[in-house]
Symmetry: D3
Subunit: 244 residues, 6 copies
């Protein structure tokens, strides 16, 4: 199975990061990995959850969701079903952990930043696009706090980006789109910091269990992909934020 | 209180209708009434709900929701709270009824079209923008069915559009944005067909009860606004749909 | 289709308002519009919801529900299903808004009055009967507060009553009962104050969209019906409340 | 603590059974034990729950609930809370078991009778009033089925009634009202058939554990009370049902 | 139907009480009535529920649940279904009431002891095993509090044990196992204090209503069974608790 | 921080696998990793979930839960809260995927095996103990199906075991217990097949992001630990199952 649109195995899909896509949010990004489109909104609130009050430390968390018609066939709304599915929970937790890996809670002060990652259209890699876009929205929200004089230092200790990799026909491929994801024998999501260290490594054998050599190949490819995404994030953030 | 950006009392905000905003949905529209932005996706499924099976008649319904950070301050997700709020229910029902008013179920055949209206950004008038955009997405979904040869006739008996009107400082204004909505003494949502008849009239005294003369003025203004929106819908639909 | 029991088109069904139907509630009314029977109980509590604390203002709200066998065929309990349906939400909100239209929050002081409107038997017009009866229960609860010396003035700025109107065979009819409601082409619920102004106007085309002339006819009829109901409310309230 | 209104220890409160209180239900009773008022509605449906299909046997069950303002201070609606409380579940199950004790499923045929027992006002003994009234509604529903020719024999093998008994100041009392119930050291609900046998015996030490002699005294009193209630049920049923 | 394993009608199954089965809980017991196996864990927390704060009184409550594969065929998890069944509620409440019958709240001080009774394997009599085992876990938790110097006196005013009795082939049998329970005409659960008084008596006619003579026979048998269980509890508690 | 009880960094806690701990389940294992104790019950049902019917393929899934007092301080029951937490969902899905990695669906035929993994006591590593124990229960359930003649071949293509590894004070440690888990900088759960290939690799930086060298060290250690567990599983399965 060849890659759609003749992509090379180690090539990302076209990635677009549009900042300030929303007017009200303290940070907001529409991130696109090919046809995958995720809206990331950062909401700042003064104060922290109850269990953290008085600690002088801030908090960052995330919620992930998909619009019902993000997918090829419509899915039922979780709000109508009355409960969150396991997948939603799992990805929300993953995004939150990934972002917290580059946060200095003390410098953030007793402020909370909540990242809402809503998938408008899904074509594989929604969780990795969400993490990559959410970091940029988070950075803008941090600037917003800085402009208010509400920070006690630099809360961002680095950047994070995420990418999926997988084995198809025995070969590692970077940034799987939907048709590849479905066909992959092994699927791995990797979250890296901007300096190339690992925050999360989640690999799953969808078919055959995989050996150490394949695992090593996947990790190499993922590190490369995250480095590419880090560059794209930096470019997006290089433009000064429009005044609001 | 003057209108923001010197709008005339009988003037709509800038309205934009972008068709085929999504790749998977059978019809999709990003509709904007000023800063209010609603994504309307039409999903076609063969067959109808159980209570309608074997009737030869089709079905159209709608679900409305708001992204948590569509608003000035973030709202909790209804999926996390585990239940739909009354406002969500009420607006979903209103959109469904409005669209069904221009549907010939027999011509639709035993097909279901579900309209998802997700508010990406809210600045007043989200329900009227949703109805106005959803009609266009519905029309595209009907064309999609027609192209498949799945229709038993023309299911659209007309068009629908909706607009809000309200009284501020004793005067009727068209298409209230958020700051006006909050300040309005009376608030009315009106759904009209393209030929100027009423589908829904919902008026509420927020402060003082209103008299017949004010009501008449509001209705006149709403009819005018719906006519303007009908023209914008027709222009948007005049362009032939891009092949997919 | 002639009206059941030879009612004139502008004639209400027999309306009965029985005050103090319950022993514990601060105000209670069994209201009957023909076979429609709604029990309205007003519960007074000192204090207001959290978001209103310290404002010096009172609060009034309502909850509407139907007993499972109020209807011709039994409906499932919402408590058993674990969630409120959209219709229940919508009507509860309507009743609350209608009553609040005649409340001076300042005069009420930091007290809350909650109106429970439970439909014991349904034969069309349950929401309009509920509003009409709830007003009387509210008035009794206000008297109860006055007797306690807990008011800061006169909280009632007027009275409210509500009635349904509809088009059958092209003609407007007042106060539809169930068989008429099902057959109506257009259905409208109107809430008026005792001095004939509008609090809510909710009209829906069930079949054909309706034109301005029909709308005007319906509004005329509704205003007349609300005036009749206002008279009946006043008569019911003329009798001094029995001491408890 | 003397009994309110000088009741004798072995005396019931005034008991009223009003049949056909509702127009739609196949059987309906407003039962009053003093100020306790329960509306019992019997709903007949053809067919039985899935697990019983094809067995040739019928089914009888019950649901108990309380209106929010049945009590001295308003209780939250279970439909709003989104779940049934333990007490509601427990009493619903008790009523169902009690009625099924006098049902011949075979004679009932594959029909289901569901008894809704809604407490309109509570003053102690709501569950025993519910059972006593529900039996009469059930008997009317059985007659309704008989008139339709839908029975395979006589489904009622007897009658059931229920009463509460308790110990106050060391002495057994019959049919406790609310103030007594709260003060009772031991509280027992007993369900008997018309021929004086036991269907349910549920005794609870609220304070001190009780000995065999007290238990025997309570049982004697309960048997007497059930016999009185059986007589009242028979009198209520002696009048032929009004034709509908 | 003879008793399995030739048990005499008035004979308990082999009963085992293993204390300190868990390492973290302040009291814990694995109780076995034949193949029925219930894990009872007592959790102590400082403070009491909100409605009891400042009263100087303690609180004891219980939660009962069954592992999905405790039974012959697997049952769905209540956590997955999202609500507690009526039976679970009912038994949790019964266990709580039974234990509270031997608690002096004042001596307990403002401490709460919560008993979790989780059925690992079910073979009839799970609620009576739970009560019998929970008492022992409660006693250990009380000792734990005493060792902390957190008590204001002796909170245990006695002991409680519970047993089921039933009628099979017209004869009373003690401590029914599953196959007997299913076949029993009448089923009764009795909770007694160590000095032979009653805390709860819950008898249900599963088939034929039962007369006073049978009831008396069942009560006699239950009192005997509870006395046997009291002896077994005392033996289990005679061993001093292992230091932790 | 030295390891409790002088464990070597590459040493497992004492691991015990007790088969047939339950009488009703088709396979059941009490697995202990030190003080962590998980009850794994395999339930066989004929047939498969609806979406798989008629495919000729079997299905295996898992549900994970924790008793409320498995932990040092009691957690609320998810059945009482009315929804599953994210962690529960996530682990249930992980166990299911891990077991399915060694299943030949065709050989299993249209049978479903559901593994319930209930944590009776938690001291770190509950998910890895659950996977390791569940495999053994699954193997017994497969034997049960084989004895029934219900298999179409050998459904087990291998074995699976799982272990946690983590970095403390910069050094990799195997099979973390609770106090170590809390202190670890990086935490990884690894699921391997008996032949040493990977099924799942889930690593998370709790504090500092980790580099490739540490990751490699953790993977080496995990592979070793899984090999040890595989040996213990084989020993446990070497004993022929007791006849039931």
């Amino acid at each position: 199975m060849p890659r759609p649109e003749n992509r090379a195995n180690d090539q990302l899909r076209p990635v677009t990061i549009t900042r300030q896509w929303l007017d009200h949010a303290e940070g907001s990004v529409l991130v696109e990995f090919g046809k995958t489109r995720v809206l990331c909104a950062a909401s700042v609130t003064q104060g922290v959850p109850r269990w953290r009050k008085g600690s002088g430390l801030g908090w960052v968390s995330a919620e992930y969701a998909m619009l019902p018609r993000a997918t090829h066939t419509r899915g039922d709304r979780e709000s109508v079903k009355g409960k969150l599915g396991g997948r939603t929970h799992e990805i929300s937790r993953l995004i939150g952990r990934s972002l917290r890996a580059v946060i200095d809670y003390k410098a953030l002060g007793e402020n909370t930043i909540l990242l809402d990652c809503d998938v408008l259209q899904a074509d594989g890699g929604t969780r990795t696009a969400a993490i990559t876009g959410a970091y940029v929205a988070l950075a803008d929200a941090v600037e917003w706090l800085r402009a208010k004089g509400a920070l006690a230092g630099e809360p961002l200790t680095g950047s994070v980006a995420a990418v999926s990799v997988g084995i198809l026909d025995g070969e590692p491929r970077l940034d799987l789109e939907y048709v590849e994801d479905v066909a992959a024998e092994t699927d791995m999501n990797v979250v890296c910091t901007g300096d190339g260290r690992f925050v999360e490594v989640q690999g799953t054998a969808e078919g055959e269990p995989f050996d150490r050599k394949l695992l090593d190949g996947l990790l190499d490819l993922a590190v490369k992909g995250c480095a590419d995404l880090t560059r794209i994030q930096l470019e997006a953030l290089a433009v000064p934020p429009v005044n609001r």
